[in-house]
Amino acid sequence: MTELTRRNTMKLMSAALVAGVSFSSLPRKAFSAGTITVLNWQGYGTDEAWSVKAFTEKTGIAVVHDYYSSESEMLTKLRTNPGAYDLVVLNAARCAQAVAEDLLQPIDFSKVPNAPTVDENLRNNPNFSKDGKGFAVPWVWGMTSLAIREGMTVPDSYAVLADPAYKGRVAMDDDAIINVGVGALMSGQDINDPKDLAAVTAALKSIKPNVKLLWSTEDQWNKSFAAKEFDLSLFWSGGSVRSKRNSKLPVQFVVPKEGGIGWVDGLGIPASAPNAEGALAFANWMIDPAFYVEWATKVGAPASSNSAALAALPVDDLSRQVHKPEYLKTMGIVSAIPDDRREAFNNVWQEVKAFYAQ
């Protein structure tokens, strides 16, 4: 090892400085043809080195990344840096907001060869489209629904949460949007806009004798489930796969007849994208079965929106068993919610929690 002299340290520091400067200037160089700049969370699929390499070898298009650490930061970057990005990963709820602000351009699905097998329910989601035009290629999805201990009766409705058979054996997700959604499904309403919040509150209050705890992290869920503190729970589809695969927990994910409460991330092209063609090619690669199978089996991934890609997974793959395409027919997707409604949802959940605590 070289000694840590002052000269060496200076060399190191200046090298780091040069590297830092050249790296930060990369996104700006991306205007040239044959390069696309992708805006995404770090470490979320698009920036897998092996996949980018394979894509560049196949198409000759170089892929550069820029990252955001919150969804509002992503919108701010789109608003303030026109022409900087070619492809952006956004949640359905945020997509509606971006489309309303004219930040995205319509997708030409004829240039996405994998598009025909993308699930229709996802493609036609109102958050992704406006005036009959699609503004994002649905990419991956997941949902919150019921999870039950293996070997117990598989429930077919959220009404089971209030079933006296599960007295003191139920865990709820400590999340206002999800719980209001469940309350809405229990009282036969739309998860994004329940008109009768009193009915939602009453439905959630009715499960009080069963509620043992409210969980807020996956780790907490795993520990409590392993300690047999509850048998039935609201849980994430991806979380149930991880619990079963990594922690070997006897959990079965169940989507009852009312449907799961879903989320979906899409790939959108900013209105000012310099290389929309290249971006479409990359979006197509992102939903390609070849890419998805490798991502899902080697790294771990949410469910692909492309049913052909999901079907290409090994038959015994847990993620494939949990994310059945037929669930998409009944799944409600969390949409953009106006601030006053979000506040009302939060108040409902606080009131219900206070009632549970009495």
Binding site: S72, D175, V211, A227, Q350, Y356, A357
Partner: protein, 304 residues
């Protein structure tokens, strides 16, 4: 308290040594106080002021929503009456935690002061402080292992009596109080220890030689003389406990809803900073009102 010191310093100033006839005394007083007050302004006053301003806003001032100044956040306790019940729960949890801390902490401090054999006192002090160095989250999670059904407590019981049912009481208010008492007990031990160590042993010997029993010595001598420690320890514990959110959330399960968790939810999940801030200031006002009510007792206690 600070202003008292300041005035006494400036009063002392003219009569103090001024051999070189240099700067007037208020300059040195100001220079000495500046770091303290500068730090207080920066670290306490400005953030609090920001939150106070937030608490009058209609929405969190980030994003594009227009901001209107309003008093509606302070109506939360009227608009959402269930909050009153949560507030009472928080105060009760604070009361019981402080009470148990006072009893246990005082007795532990007495034992600490009385143990004069060799180096036992130092050893005991280290043993009391050692758990305090570990992360609070770790300590709370380890309580979940002890208190849950089929946890350590149950295993221990079943070793003695295999047929009895579970005595695990995780996810109850008792569990919350246990976790909080464990977390805050060292404050009480230390404040009581400092008060007790100053008491002259001769006073107790005199009482004993005049025929006082141990309980007379305890309640007529030790408790009154250690009252400043007990009271400052109680204040130190009561205030953070009623705003605590980690212990109720982890140990309380379904019943773990306190003002602390409601306020935390407003800042994290609901992204409604104004409501969170207004609830915090309402809680602060309630605490100040409680201390104002008992200020007579507190003053008598601390100057005793």
């Amino acid at each position: 308290m600070h202003s008292n010191q300041a005035t006494s310093a400036s009063e002392r100033g003219p009569s103090g040594p001024r051999s070189r006839g240099a700067l007037p005394s208020w300059v040195s007083a100001a220079a000495l106080l500046l770091p303290t007050y500068g730090w207080l302004t920066l670290a306490v006053f400005l953030p609090l002021l920001t939150m106070l301003v937030f608490s009058f806003m209609s929405a969190t001032p980030m994003g594009k929503a227009p901001i209107v100044f309003t008093l509606k956040q302070y109506r939360a306790f009227i608009d959402q009456p269930y909050l009153v019940g949560i507030g009472v729960t928080s105060l009760l949890i604070g009361f019981w935690t402080t009470l148990f801390c006072a009893i246990l902490g005082f007795l532990a401090a007495v034992a600490l002061v009385r143990s004069t054999f060799g180096k036992t006192r130092e050893m005991l002090l280290i043993l009391i402080l050692l758990p305090f160095w570990t992360n609070g989250l770790v300590r709370v999670f380890s309580w979940t292992m002890v208190l849950r059904e089929n946890g350590f407590l149950d295993n221990l019981l079943h070793m003695i009596a295999p047929d009895v049912g579970s005595i695990g009481f995780l996810y109850t208010r008792y569990a919350i109080v246990v976790g909080l008492v464990h977390g805050y007990l060292p404050y009480m031990i230390l404040t009581c220890y400092i008060a007790l160590v100053a008491i002259d042993d001769a006073i107790m010997e005199a009482a004993a030689s005049l025929g006082a029993r141990w309980w007379t010595i305890l309640f007529k001598i030790l408790v009154p003389l250690a009252a400043p420690g007990l009271i400052s320890g109680s204040v130190l514990i009561f205030i953070p406990v009623i705003g605590s959110f980690m212990e109720p959330r982890i140990l309380g399960g379904r019943v773990g809803v306190t003002m602390g968790t409601v306020i935390e939810d407003q800042f994290t999940q609901a992204f409604n900073w104004p409501l969170g801030a207004s609830l915090s200031f309402t809680l602060l006002a309630v605490v100040l009102a409680i201390f104002a009510t008992f200020s007579g007792v507190l003053r008598r206690g601390t100057t005793a």
